[in-house]
Symmetry: C2
């Protein structure tokens, strides 16, 4: 059977940090801080604390060999995306991924023809879920 990664759902602040780690690879707290500070306006020790917590939770790994610990994401971006999507789908789309996709597409500017096409393709998705 397929391997099943299981990890806690990252919080919003944790997700911001994960995004930096995914984009920049293994980084010190300072590096992450420098990326986030202009945006979030948050202090250095806050980022530090969050990253320590992420390490405790298993969301991040760290290399302690040098004084400035080097953190890296312990979970794949795509896995988190999948978790969050599943979460959203089950809490706000009645468990149907199809509905989520359709909802997005309908709010976009696609022609009726294109939409019909997509509907057809989507028939595969969502095994038993209602349309």
């Amino acid at each position: 059977m397929a391997k099943k990664r299981t990890f806690p759902k990252p919080s919003e602040a944790e997700l911001r940090i994960l995004n930096v780690l995914w984009r920049h690879g293994p980084s010190t707290v300072r590096k992450v801080f420098e990326q986030l500070e202009p945006v979030t306006q948050v202090g250095y020790t806050t980022i530090l604390k969050l990253m320590q917590i992420m390490h405790d939770k298993g969301l991040a790994e760290r290399d302690e060999r040098s004084r400035s610990h080097v953190y890296s994401a312990a979970i794949a971006c795509v896995d988190v995306q999948e978790l969050l999507v599943d979460d959203l789908v089950s809490s706000a789309f009645g468990g149907s991924k199809k509905r989520l996709v359709l909802q997005i597409l309908e709010n976009a500017d696609a022609t009726p023809d294109e939409l019909a096409e997509i509907r057809h393709i989507l028939r595969n998705i969502d095994g038993g879920a209602k349309s």
Copy 2:
């Protein structure tokens, strides 16, 4: 310009209640409780309190004319869905709805041809966002 509904992001418990209100229409606390209790195992006064808070926040309206107040969703399902999707997209998909859709479709069983088709259609979406 288009009307712009603005409301706070519903919490998880609030979303569970909203789902009941959307599905069943205007309901008393007891009705909502009866729907959720088997699933969430939570007490009556908890649901009551939550629904009162939702009323305060403007997420729900209530008719107090009869002793048992009748609550109804003050926001449309599709509006909440849009809010949550935008939230997810900006926090976990680099702001690109296209990436979200593609991610879902790739995890589904669609043929390469179909995927190519969808990619083509998606070119419209996501004005400037990178693919």
